[in-house]
């Protein structure tokens, strides 16, 4: 049994059905990539996994460690070990990063309060690792951040919260090569037997840094093709039109 199981997931917002039967299994220790054209439903899938109230699950199930999480609120899912790197992180003006991080780390601490010393030390080390300036900790969360700063902030959170399943929604989009390398560095530090990763991306570029074991292709709300690392190359060479042809042949 895989740690995260997505079974025949259908989801909609208003009258629009966006996910039309997604099946996906991710185990701890595995790195999966999910690719698909714009508008195919990648962000919707991440939002639904995290429990965004805008989307209604009409069919299917999501199981974490064997238990359905559909009835859980987003904060419960987070505390159960799920993490989402947002494609578009929102700003929370006036809330300093250090204050926010402390609250979120406290929420995960068995006594409800993490000792300040080790917390600050860990945060400082992680920030250094991600080439973030110390003074950054005093800034308002995502307030006036550049694209690259926002993405580093998401990776920093992932490093601090230590999830068992993390979904990265186009964390690489819009990044220059330096920022991309920093993001990849963070991900590679995190990967290991305790983390299952779903890397959603638009470009093959990041995959050369991250080397996923599995690749899935999402089109029109369904996973239409899955494979190993060799599929990355094929897709790179032949593009989505080739995928469309393949589906047409098998259909």
């Amino acid at each position: 049994m895989s740690y995260l199981q997505i079974k025949n997931l259908h989801a909609r917002t208003g009258d629009i059905e966006i996910l039309k039967g997604v099946n996906l299994e991710i185990n701890k220790g595995e790195v999966h990539a999910l690719m698909g054209p714009n508008g195919s439903g990648k962000s919707t899938l991440s939002s639904v996994i995290m429990g965004h109230p805008d989307y209604e699950v009409t069919e299917g199930d999501i199981l974490l460690n064997g238990e359905s999480i559909l009835e859980m609120d987003p904060d419960e899912r987070a505390l159960a070990g799920l993490f989402l790197c947002f494609q578009y992180p929102v700003a929370i003006p006036g809330v300093s990063i250090s204050n926010f991080m402390k609250k979120a780390v406290d929420a995960r601490h068995p006594e409800g309060k993490a000792p300040a010393g080790p917390f600050l030390k860990e945060m400082r080390e992680n920030m250094e690792y991600l080439d973030m300036d110390k003074a950054f900790a005093n800034r308002g969360l995502n307030e006036g951040f550049s694209g690259g700063e926002k993405k580093r902030m998401e990776i920093l959170q992932m490093m601090m919260f230590k999830p068992s399943i993390a979904i990265m929604d186009e964390t690489d989009s819009g990044l220059d090569i330096d920022a991309l390398q920093v993001v990849a560095k963070g991900v590679n530090k995190m990967r290991g037997p305790d983390l299952g990763l779903l890397v959603i991306t638009h470009y093959e570029r990041i995959l050369t840094y991250i080397n996923p074991q599995f690749l899935h292709i999402l089109m029109e709300g369904k996973i239409v093709m899955s494979g190993g690392p060799e599929l990355v190359k094929t897709l790179e060479e032949k593009g989505y039109d080739w995928v469309r042809e393949q589906i047409a042949v098998t259909a």
Partner: protein, 476 residues
């Protein structure tokens, strides 16, 4: 920058809503010249003070309760109020009524010698009298006078005569006139030339007895090149009848003086249905009389059934500076109409206004402000930011910024926003493991940050805790 350590285990109910059962000396309900004479006599006041009161009373009788703020409130029967109530026991700190001491402990107010190092000099006004002032000797050595206004009238009559009513004249408005007639206690601060007051001067107001009004009168004078920071806090027991608090606060800043005045207003606000609570009708005004003087108001308003108050600055001295920083939170059926007036008179004067209004429940929260530049007030500058945050759908927020400029050289900038806590912000924070309430509270505290950082540090921690308590139960 302070780390806003938070304690979510605090309970939501009004923490200070208890009543202290002590023997009081209370005069019968009603208002007439005889009652005013009794108040004056109880305070051993000189004749000039009684005359001043009576003059104000006669003016008040000719005035009408104003209705322009469109507050939804029943008519107040001014004959149905006790105008004086005092603990019967002696008010010397050494043999203070043990019940009273207990009250102060519950309110977290340092009164004893053990707190002499706490960096705050404290005066406490319990119903109508002041019950003790700490740090007296140290302040005396510096020539600083910090005592109750009643004591000042007896001990420093020249100073009181010179300044009382010069910023807020007795006939200024209906409640100022009433206050001038019947004020019972409050604080008096005088900082002599060139002195920087080394501690926060603080007054704690508490309404305890039923059906009493509290008429606080505070006068702060900062002489040339002097600096002080004054804090005020207030609470009242939870009762299902309304009680009136009508204060007048006057600040005078002489040449190059710098006065910082901070309030945390936490009067009982009534219950969920809007029953009971304090009517908080206050006139606060500062006069920057000297060149380059500065008056800064910071207020955190989280209580009272109805609040009606506009701490203002008259910027007369050339180069003087006025500031107003406000957080006003309303919930249930609370009504707040608050803001400021900045009157630019001197040359090169400047003012800053930051107002953050948060409304929840069925409350209404208005910002009302005036920036006025009189003719000849060359190069006046004002920057105003008025932001409103709505929690839920049944509350309201309005902004009424009035601008009157008679001088073409003025630079006035006004920004205003109204927002709700966005679903995306809540989802983002919840997806990080924060509960809905913690997430909303975090957004609100962030919204208020620019004001909280203006408060003295210890006070800002308290104010943030208080706001958290108020937010609990108002979200979701």
């Amino acid at each position: 920058m302070p780390e806003f350590e938070t304690d979510s285990n605090l309970v939501q109910e009004y923490k200070y809503g208890f009543f202290t059962d002590i023997e009081t000396d209370t005069i019968p309900k009603g208002l007439n010249e005889e009652v005013i004479a009794i108040i004056s006599a109880k305070k051993n006041e000189p004749v000039w003070m009684l005359e001043w009161r009576l003059k104000a009373f006669r003016r008040w009788q000719k005035m009408k309760n104003p209705d322009w703020a469109f507050l939804d409130m029943p008519e107040i029967d001014f004959q149905d109020i006790h105008y004086y109530s005092a603990p019967k026991e002696a008010v010397d700190m050494k043999d203070m009524d043990p019940e009273l001491l207990k009250t102060f402990e519950r309110l977290g107010i340092p009164m004893g010698e053990r707190d002499a190092l706490s960096g705050v000099a404290m005066d406490v006004v319990f119903d109508s009298v002041s019950v003790g002032t700490t740090h007296k000797e140290m302040l005396e050595e510096l020539g600083i006078i910090f005592c109750s206004i009643s004591e000042a009238i007896q001990e420093h009559p020249e100073l009181v005569k010179q300044y009382l009513g010069t910023v807020v004249p007795p006939g200024d408005n209906f409640y100022a006139a009433l206050n001038s007639a019947v004020f019972t206690d409050g604080s008096f601060c005088y900082i002599p030339k060139g002195v920087t007051c080394p501690v926060e001067l603080s007054t704690y107001f508490r309404i305890n007895a039923a059906d009493t009004g509290q008429f606080e009168r505070t006068l702060i004078v900062c002489d040339d090149n002097a600096t002080c920071s004054y804090l005020e806090g207030c609470t009242a027991p939870a009762r299902d009848t309304n009680q009136l608090h009508a204060a007048v606060v006057e600040i005078v800043a002489l040449e190059n003086a710098d006065v910082k005045y901070s309030t945390v207003q936490n009067w009982y606000a009534g219950d969920e249905e809007g029953k009971g609570g304090i009517y908080n009708f206050v006139t606060k005004r500062g006069h920057c009389r000297g060149r380059k003087s500065k008056i800064s108001w910071t207020q955190v308003e989280v209580g009272a059934a109805i609040t009606w108050k506009y701490p203002s600055c008259v910027l007369e001295g050339d180069g003087s500076v006025g500031e107003f920083y406000s957080v006003a939170f309303t919930n249930n059926h609370m009504q707040a109409d608050t803001g400021t007036k900045m009157i630019h008179v001197g040359k090169n004067t400047s003012s800053t206004i930051i107002s953050k209004g948060i409304s929840a429940g069925k409350s209404s929260n208005n910002y009302r402000g005036l920036v006025k530049v009189v003719e000849g007030a060359a190069n006046a500058r004002n920057h105003s930011i008025c932001d409103s945050l709505l929690i839920g759908r049944d509350c309201s927020a309005n902004t009424f910024p009035y601008i009157e400029s008679e001088d073409d050289s003025a630079h006035l900038a006004h920004e205003a926003t109204t927002s709700t806590i966005s679903e995306d912000q809540l989802f983002y924070l919840k997806s990080r493991g924060l509960s809905e309430e913690d997430a909303a509270s975090m957004v609100v505290k962030g919204f208020c940050k620019d004001v909280f950082k203006k408060l003295p540090l210890e006070f800002s921690v308290e104010a943030i805790k208080l706001l958290e308590i108020k937010l609990e139960g108002s979200i979701g």
